[in-house]
Chain length 399, copies 2
Amino acid sequence: MSGSSSQVYRASTTAPVNIAVIKYWGKRDTTLNLPTNSSLSVTLSQKSLRTHTTASCSESFSGPDTLILNGEKEDIQSSKRTQACLKHLRSLREQLEAKDESLPKLSKLTLRIVSSNNFPTAAGLASSAAGFAALVRAIADLYELPQTPQELSLIARQGSGSACRSLMGGYVAWRAGTKADGSDSIAEEVAPVSHWPEMRALVLVVSAEKKGVPSTAGMQTTVETSTLAPTRFNEVVPKRMAEIEKAIHDRDFETFARITMQDSNSFHAICLDSWPPIHYLNDVSRAAMSAVETANRKAGKLIAAYTFDAGPNAVIYYLEEHTHQVAGVFKSILPRIPGWEGEFGEVIRPNEYGSLDSKALMTLKAGISRVICTGVGGGPEKIEKHLVDENGNAVPVEA
Amino acid sequence: MSGSSSQVYRASTTAPVNIAVIKYWGKRDTTLNLPTNSSLSVTLSQKSLRTHTTASCSESFSGPDTLILNGEKEDIQSSKRTQACLKHLRSLREQLEAKDESLPKLSKLTLRIVSSNNFPTAAGLASSAAGFAALVRAIADLYELPQTPQELSLIARQGSGSACRSLMGGYVAWRAGTKADGSDSIAEEVAPVSHWPEMRALVLVVSAEKKGVPSTAGMQTTVETSTLAPTRFNEVVPKRMAEIEKAIHDRDFETFARITMQDSNSFHAICLDSWPPIHYLNDVSRAAMSAVETANRKAGKLIAAYTFDAGPNAVIYYLEEHTHQVAGVFKSILPRIPGWEGEFGEVIRPNEYGSLDSKALMTLKAGISRVICTGVGGGPEKIEKHLVDENGNAVPVEA
């Protein structure tokens, strides 16, 4: 119990997960998290996946800054990435305080940050993007910083590269930039949710797979050893970025789908071309790819697009109008696993899976442990539900 | 029965399988089988794997040329590749006959070719290389052609690209060449068996896997769609060819092993980068890679090298002195599957598998159906055992 009567300043936000369709894989500067190539993602609905973070500070708090994540205290003192974010945000607050003497000197106060995800870590989804986006957004709100999401994205990027894309909703590009200090390596909105709100995403969570190579280490291995990676960084991705931005602008799902799948494959190709080679896709992932290919073949056009991050889980993008033909197939194959509930899932009716071969079918049935039904969504939202109470204590985690 | 008393001319040869360490994947000319890049292989011992072919001709034979493979008649009339080989060999014989009137006019006679492999098709090993090498060598002997193996390799290449490398023993390069007519796209010996006879190869045959994309079709998909492939063809492979030739010259197994594994991974990377993507590696293949990595880690240096062709089977190269540390590990994991008999297999003593993780272990136990224990070997050999009898009839296939 912190029994002080000093005021506790609080700000809370929720921030979304994003799943890239043009992949970020490779840093040109590991300290600043500057990427070897631009990337582009779809922000996912916070109804399904979000991090909720409260940032608080008070004269009554003492000692170092703390972060409690999902009820457990994190070691943020030794996390250079978190420290870089906090330092940057404090310096922006200091600038405000220097300009306006009347402002409370929040920049001098100890921070207590409490954060919780609405999805299980077991889902195997990279939660660092939502986590750092929420952290930066909550502290920026606490400090009443005037910076735009684009300007804040530069800070979140230093926490976790892909976090910069979670500061905005809809369709978001992270421009690699060319400057050594990273000042032009920022996220920007390509299109808001309202431009193309029909985009859906079905996440297939692959059962207990041994954790693969961590992405930071994997990226460096690729940058240092893959002989094919420079072509991807310098030639392939710049071309695809232009193409997929146009596809999003034109709401051209077929082009969007083809580039999404090709870019996922290109990313996993340079992983395999690394030394030692890095594997994230397994036979379950390939069965999911096969099911998507079967659905597309049956439709006679591209109505579904798979993409895979640094793990075997599949994310399948499709448009609302093809819910039955895409998500319905997986609901029919995997009717009894958790995740078919909620706004995006309940509308899905099971559908026959067509000519999917029996081996792929068996592999999916045995290998997928849950689904998450979601779709494109908005950026971080300021909320009044705080995870730190008026006395500065962390609110107990909900059961 | 062909009851004619005309002379039956016969020549028989055996030809080896070869497994590339720098992969051939991509044609710059599909008719002439001209490759996008040079490649390099190890010729494997014919004690383990060989094609035995008898070429015969006689005035008593009539009708079109025939080929019986493993007791079954093949349709060679509609095989443009086989026809190209036969036409080329006949024209060389015609040139001899034109120069020397006393020679029998064999070029005008119907060919009866009979061929048999000493390994089951179920082994999933590309037998076309040994098959076309034996076909070309046997007919060249029947026709008493003066051409060198290098010159004949140009003909075998038109049957099956990699067949050109099976006309020689030891370590063989196929030079891509640059000429449009393919006259400089030929195989040549990099080093004979005697230069480095200690090279061994363990083939792990993966159980009944659905046949993947056929290599000719797959190669064209890669050439037409992979955005990473040109870098492999034009930059990566030429550099690796020079490096691995030096490693072979220096008998430097560590460099040989690293390049072999990297090049296999590079080939499968451009397959994955193709559209639609092509998968040959599966979870069993990856478990084999993992076992090789574990053996190398335990040894503190590279003593084993995996390589994969257009299928999930692993071929693992190692030196005789490391038999116990490499092949012994697999014998210990897979003691009861067929293939541990014979000259190369019997010397292998089971060895503990070290820190190989239990999932990889289970995957190998469940996924490997047989092994083939072999090593580097010599080129085609002329033999007196004929598969066509004196009357021109095919000798029944041995039980």
